[in-house]
Symmetry: C2
Subunit: 111 residues, 2 copies
């Protein structure tokens, strides 16, 4: 199922979504983003994983995720590439901000 | 450019992202989501528009958006279908929650 998450297709699948804010150490956001981007390209069950800079706080970033199941998300945290990214990224992190768990139910992406 | 927002492709384009929370009147979230989903399928410049239920607050929903420009986002608010959705949705809304403006810079979607 592509990210074209048509409402119909979604009714049979309970997707899992995450909206999370992360704080980088001052001046280290770009490095942290690059590390996160590298480690998160091959994650089974991940329909979307987007990393974005917060426009108001220059040290904050947002990760918005869509998974085909909560289980696949949990399993991703054990993937070697993700573990490696977490290990390399942690020294650049100041902490975590807000975190919201969601169920994506409608929407589209435009290819 | 598909939503496969490879880091390289992003370096030439400054994308515009929005993460916004909306509150429905008690028991009216599903109706509000359906209205929003209907009115937001044909929006020039919109790379992703996902509506999700908040897993903790049964009246709250989240909209995460990615646009190829801030201007395209602003223009979308004048589209007849969007104006219609806002007009039909407003009576079902209790208000707006948190809102974050971002610049998506990395990430992928898996087709």
């Amino acid at each position: 199922m592509g990210l074209g998450l048509e409402v119909k297709a979604m009714e049979e699948v309970t997707l899992y979504g995450l909206i999370g804010q992360m704080m980088a150490l001052p001046g280290r956001r770009a490095e942290l983003i690059a590390i996160l981007a590298e480690g998160t390209t091959e994650m089974p069950g991940c329909l979307s994983y987007v990393i974005a800079e917060d426009r108001e706080d220059e040290d904050a970033l947002w990760i918005t995720e869509i998974w085909d199941s909560e289980e696949h998300h949990a399993a991703s945290l054990q993937l070697p590439a993700v573990q490696d990214a977490i290990a390399r990224g942690r020294p650049l992190m100041a902490g975590f901000g807000q975190r919201f768990e969601t169920t994506p139910v409608a929407g589209v992406s435009f290819d």
